[in-house]
């Protein structure tokens, strides 16, 4: 299944075109993509910077599990899930997900499944910096 899955956790800028190229296939009729971008606002405060860290070997395993489940549960051809780590600023891209399928409904569903599940299960941790402090996102009740 390896030629159907591209998983990456990278210290470098993520590339939309390379995710697109990976999943493109002559048998595909549609590609759904999701690009996460760093917003200028969180908790109604201005975000000045943020940092992603990960438990990288486990995060790669969890991302691979998501990709396999997407290929099993939806009628799709290929899937790429790339996540950034390190320091990011407003407008930078933390995550790109690309899914190709013969028909678009499966591509959209698998793409949403992948981003929803990534947020719940993959050990990646975001720290947001504000002018007056910082916060580990989701870690404060």
């Amino acid at each position: 299944m390896n030629h159907k899955i591209s998983i990456k956790i990278s210290d470098k800028k993520l590339n939309l075109q390379s995710c697109y190229k990976f999943v493109k296939d002559d048998a595909c009729g549609g590609i759904a993509l999701f690009v996460g971008t760093v917003r200028n606002e969180s908790y109604k405060k201005e975000v000045t910077a943020l940092n992603f860290s990960s438990y990288k070997p486990m995060a790669l395993k969890e991302l691979t599990t998501i990709a396999h489940r997407a290929l099993t549960d939806f009628d799709i051809l290929k899937i790429a899930i790339h996540h950034a780590q390190g320091d990011l600023k407003v407008g930078d891209i933390p995550v790109i997900i690309a899914v190709s399928a013969a028909h678009r409904e499966a591509a959209f569903k698998a793409c949403q499944f992948a981003i929803d599940t990534l947020k719940q299960t993959v050990p990646i941790f975001k720290k947001e910096h504000f002018i007056d402090g910082e916060v580990w996102v989701n870690a404060h009740p």
């Binding site: 486990m58 947020k119 050990p123 720290k127 870690a139």
Partner: protein, 79 residues
Amino acid sequence: MKLQILVFGIFTDIFKANKVNLELPKPLNVGQLRAFIIKNYPQTEALNFAIAVDEAYADDEQIIKNHQTIALIPPTSGG
């Protein structure tokens, strides 16, 4: 049993480190490790954290063996 535990996210602020060494009784399961952490670091209770054994989420019943890689996983926030 000496355990070296990897910590991530907010745990790196709580422990001021990426790893912590703990001396724990044996046999030990994941639930007992969680209880030990919460008892000794009460601010971790509200986090509702997970524990990974050998890079996979572990149930409370799972027995921890020597040489396994143990990690404390706070709520994730990727994406």
